[in-house]
Structure formats: structure tokens, C-alpha cells
Symmetry: none
Subunit: 351 residues, 2 copies
């Protein structure tokens, strides 16, 4: 995706080539963004011309199916030796400082003693914020799948005895459809809901408000949504908070416009929450794409601005410690207007 | 875990304090090892005295439930600013070079312009090899759960039409019990079994030998086991290979003694396999703990030695390309003697 824009940046910065390496259990997001390939390897993006993917022999089938047309399969040679063969004469090299661990960076630099290195991670993360048509279609599908699985979960909710069972249902449905989940589903009932990142437990579902935070991946692209439902009965005061938060969330989504500072959307939420603002303890949202958390940041200190074709979440929440919590989250695309991509009802469902 | 031993190392190396940072979606293993905390944050381990955990406000409940007694919740301040406040005068600082990305390392170093930094990742990985009583109890539970789920899977095996269904069953059972899986279960039937890292497919289960590799996590601690079963009928020649490999595996487990070179256990397997040795194409085993693959390495080139209270796998396999494959794996604890922790039968089950 957007290789040409990245090469224009390399030309502007007089960088001969950029080297992206993926060697861990999970593919590095910037590497995956350009390659669509989940195996280990190195990607060399020269200032102009075709990018080259170096991959080990055991990954050759996957590598040849990647987005990159020039693929070289390594027989025995070590990855960094092969990288040096291809860009050994470069004077200025781009590296991904957000992905490369300190020890791996040291090893890579040994291959390029005479070259200067610069960090290109921020640039790639910025490029990634503006989604292409292809990426938008994957994100739409990802949101549709998440909606469908969540609705199936809500239909079956009476059958679950524990948070774990509800969370397992969500993940299992995704697995059965051949989809990964970008994070373990959160099911936080009763006072557990006051922890925004609660890990589901094998204890009986608590009565009261229950926060369900779930997403899937389609072709590597994430969806993310949260619904808060009621189990048994919900006290009127908590219902009132729910309605208030829902209004705040909808207003925040609608307020996003091209070129707007992301921090302003956050500010609007703080104002609208009024005396509940101290109980809103996390960011308002984040970009979604090949990562579940990417740019732009919708936080108080964000330096990002909204742009058309950005995909992001809007997820205000209020958490009364040891009492209850509410979060409402949608995945949103900034088209001509903000378009809500996750569509499961936000009426307070009582189960 | 083993904070005192780590502090002794810091004293010996004249390191004032070590800083471990976890900022990704997944907790960094070394950070998790000391904290038992899965959220974002920074851990400061001074040369002596109490370690300090810095965590963002949204994680305060989880942070307070962590292993670390001194917790400081950050109100607004940025993580690294707070780190500097606490160890700003340090002259020599330990960092985790295997976990910390280049940019984070740079930012952290800015907080300590005058300090030297050293990489402490190898030391922590070494400390992690010797399990405490608490860790052993988690690993035992993890193995018991894996046994119980695998046995349930075997009982239901006739109901599965595809490898994916069998693999989804294993993962779903784990999820229902509130347990994570450290890797996607492997179910490789017929000639698929000749690929040691085969990804389960949605095609019909093949007849013949079928390799099932599965583990779970309890309190963050991994189990890992493999059984090879027969579907339909298994030719006598393959049964013979199975019995031979089983003998080799049991002998290898029994051979582990304190202070023994891990590479020697591997050598013993090669000798015992005889003419089948060329078909054994991977390592013999690996440590298990907060990671599914950790030290010690049971490979030909391993520099590690067996020590009491190490937990590791013993998993010889033979793979006849495009024909069949067999792997038998147990999780093992080196107590006074090697103790097999995963206990599902290794008699060849035919389903």
C-alpha cells in the first residue's frame, strides 16, 4: 500500500533505501502494511523501483503470495547478510525504530557500518492513516463480521454462565469463520466493568451493566466495537448515565470533520461529560487498520488532525471504581462525513 | 519472581537500577515475569530495595493486583518523565534490549543523558529458567488443564470432520475455562503430519497418523504437549516407527540430570533414532514458562545446561515428507528426577 508516497519521502530525505525486518512471532505492522505477508523476512524499499522481499525457504509459498512482486528466497544465508548484499553500498538507510528491538538494530547496523540510518517509522504510520479503497473494503468487511458475531453472541447471551464463556463464544465464532481476533474479547460484568481492560473471568456473570469489547481481523484489517448491555436489571441512575454517554458518543462521532484537530473532539467529550468527566480515564479513540491501535490518536495531547479516509474508533467510557462502568464504541470512517461502520444497536439491551 | 537474584546481578555489575517497559498490546515477557501484570507501564528495579511499578490511571486496578507492592499511578505525567523522576541520578542503567524498540530506547536514554546503559535481557532470561515453587504450581495446573482438554478432544474426535474443527474445539474449550492458548493448536492429519508447523485446514481429516500439538496458559504460564493418534487404520510399518519414537522420547526424558549439557540429551536422541535421525528436523525441546519458547534450548548447538527446577519440553519427531509424521511431546520438570507433567496416554490411540 502507498509505496510510491513512501518512495517520494525517501527521495526528499535522500534516503537510498529503507529496510523493514519482521522476525518475531507476529508480523511487524509496518512490514505487513507494505507486504501483506505474515512470515519472517526483510523488505527493502529503494528510493525508486521495485521493493524486494527476502524470505526464508520454509516461507516461500506465503512469500510468493504477498503483495511484493520481487521475492528472493534465502537458501542458507542469514537474513542480514543477504540484506547487505542488496543494499551494502547505501549511504543513508531508513529503519523502523518502532518495530526493531535494540539488539536486532545493533546487529543490522553492523551490516552497514558506513551508512547513516534514519527512523522512518513515524512516516509509515502517518501514511497508514489514510486508507486506500482496498483497505476501506477490508475494514468494512471486518466491521460487518464483528457486528454479525456480536449480535449472535447477544442472542445466545442467556446461555452463558460466566464472562469467559461469553468471551469464548465471540472468539470461537471468529475462529470458525477463519478470522483472527486482534485482542481477547473483553466481557466485564457488574463491578468488573469499572476496569476498562478487564480480563474475562470464570466466575458467574454479575448482574448489572456488562461491557463487551470485541473486534476481528479481515485480511489483516481490524474492527473494534464496544457495547454495554444490562444483565438482570439496571438501576435507573445507571440507565441515565448510559443514555448520557450514548448522547456524548454520538455527538463526538458526528463532530469529526476534515482537518480538525483530534484533540478538539476529545475536548468536546470532556465538556459534554461535565461532572462525569473525571470518570473518563482513557483516550477517546484511535486509528484502526493493520493494527488495532494506530494513528490518529483521539486524546487530549494528540498532535494529529482528522483527514478524509481515516478509520478510527470513538469510544468514550465512564468508570465508577468498584461500582460499574459503561463504554460505547464504534469504528468510524471519515468519508465526506463521519460514517459509522459498526452497526449493532446501541439501545440499552437488558438480558 | 527472583527479584533478589536479579538485584544481586545488578550489584555485581554496578548497575544502579534496571528499567523494564511494556507498552505494546502484549506484555513483554521479562516485564510480566517480575510483575505478573499484563497492562502497560514501567518497572524500576533498583540495586536494592523494593521494585516500583509505574502504571497509567486506566490500569490502576490491575496494577494494584500485580506482584509489585509499590505501585505509582500516573495521573497525567508521561511514563518516561516519571521514570526519570525516580532514577534520574542513576549512572548505570539496565535495559531490556530484546524487548525495547529502538525509538523507545532512544526516548528512555534521553531521560538519562549521563547514564551508561547495559542490556540485561539475557540475564533475566537465564533467571527465568529456574522456576520458583509458585511458578511450578502454575505450570502443573497448566499441564493438567491441557491434559484434560486434550482428553476431551480425543473423546469427541469422531465428531470432527476437519482439522480446523478439532483445533477450534481445543481452543474453544480452553477459552471456556478462561484460559489462553500460547499458540494456535496444530492438528495435522495424514501427509500434513509431515510438516512440523502445519496450520490446520478446513479439508476432511486424512486417514493415518495425526499429530496434535496443544497447550494452554494458567496465570500466564504455558504448557505444551503433542500426541500422535491414528485415524482409521495405521500401517504396521508406521506403528513400528511410533513405538520406536515413543521409546526414544521416554529415554530422552529420563536422561535429563542436573548440570548435564542440554546438547547431550539431543545427541542421545540422534543416536537412538539411528537411521531415522535424518527425519528428525527440529530441536528436541525448549524451556516453558511465561513464554512458550524460552531457555533452555535442547538443541545440537545449545550452550545451556540442565538445572533443577527447570521446566521444558521433550519432543522428538520424525517426518517423512509427503508421507507421514510422528511427534510425541511432554512438558517436563527437572525435580530430583525428571518428572513428566503432561500425562495423557502415549499408547497409540486409533480413532
Amino acid at each position: 500500500m502507498r509505496v510510491k508516497e513512501f518512495q517520494a519521502f525517501l527521495q526528499e530525505k535522500k534516503v537510498d533505501a529503507s529496510i523493514l525486518v519482521s522476525i518475531g512471532m507476529e508480523p511487524d505492522p509496518n512490514f505487513f502494511y507494505f507486504t501483506g505477508y505474515e512470515g519472517a523476512g526483510a523488505l527493502i524499499i529503494p528510493q525508486s523501483g521495485r521493493p524486494l522481499l527476502l524470505a526464508p525457504k520454509m516461507e516461500q509459498e506465503r512469500a510468493r503470495k504477498s503483495r511484493i512482486k520481487s521475492v528472493k528466497i534465502l537458501e542458507k544465508k542469514r537474513l542480514f547478510d543477504s540484506v547487505r548484499e542488496h543494499v551494502g553500498r547505501a549511504k543513508k538507510i531508513g529503519m523502523d525504530g518502532s518495530a526493531l528491538a535494540l539488539n536486532a538494530a545493533k546487529a543490522l547496523r553492523k551490516s552497514f557500518r558506513k551508512a547513516r540510518t534514519i527512523d522512518v517509522s513515524r512516516k509509515i504510520r502517518e501514511l497508514r492513516t489514510i486508507k486506500t479503497m482496498e483497505e476501506i473494503s477490508y475494514i468494512r468487511r471486518s466491521c460487518r463480521e464483528a457486528d454479525s458475531i456480536l449480535q449472535q453472541c447477544l442472542k445466545n447471551f442467556r446461555e452463558f454462565r460466566t464472562e469467559s464463556e461469553a468471551a469464548a463464544f465471540l472468539q470461537h465464532e471468529a475462529l470458525k469463520r477463519g478470522l483472527d481476533v486482534p485482542f481477547r474479547p473483553i466481557v466485564a460484568s457488574g463491578k468488573h466493568a469499572s476496569m476498562s481492560h478487564h480480563a474475562p473471568q470464570s466466575t458467574k456473570l454479575n448482574k448489572g451493566l456488562c461491557v463487551i469489547d470485541f473486534g476481528v481481523k479481515v485480511k489483516g484489517y481490524c474492527s473494534d466495537m464496544t457495547r454495554t448491555i444490562g444483565i438482570g436489571s439496571v438501576p435507573p441512575a445507571q440507565r441515565k448515565k448510559y443514555q448520557k454517554l450514548l448522547g456524548v458518543q454520538q455527538q463526538a462521532m458526528a463532530s469529526a470533520t476534515d482537518a480538525m484537530k483530534c484533540s478538539l473532539i476529545y475536548d468536546g467529550v470532556i465538556r459534554a461529560l461535565g461532572k462525569d468527566a473525571p470518570y473518563f480515564t482513557h483516550g477517546l479513540g484511535h486509528g484502526i487498520g493493520v493494527e488495532i491501535h494506530e494513528l490518529p490518536n483521539l486524546t487530549i495531547s494528540s498532535i494529529d488532525r482528522m483527514q478524509k479516509s481515516m478509520a478510527f474508533t470513538v469510544e468514550p467510557g465512564i468508570y465508577y471504581p468498584k461500582k460499574f462502568g459503561i463504554r460505547i464504541e464504534d469504528s468510524v470512517l471519515l468519508a465526506t462525513r463521519p460514517e459509522q461502520l459498526t452497526k449493532t444497536t446501541k439501545e440499552l439491551i437488558i438480558i
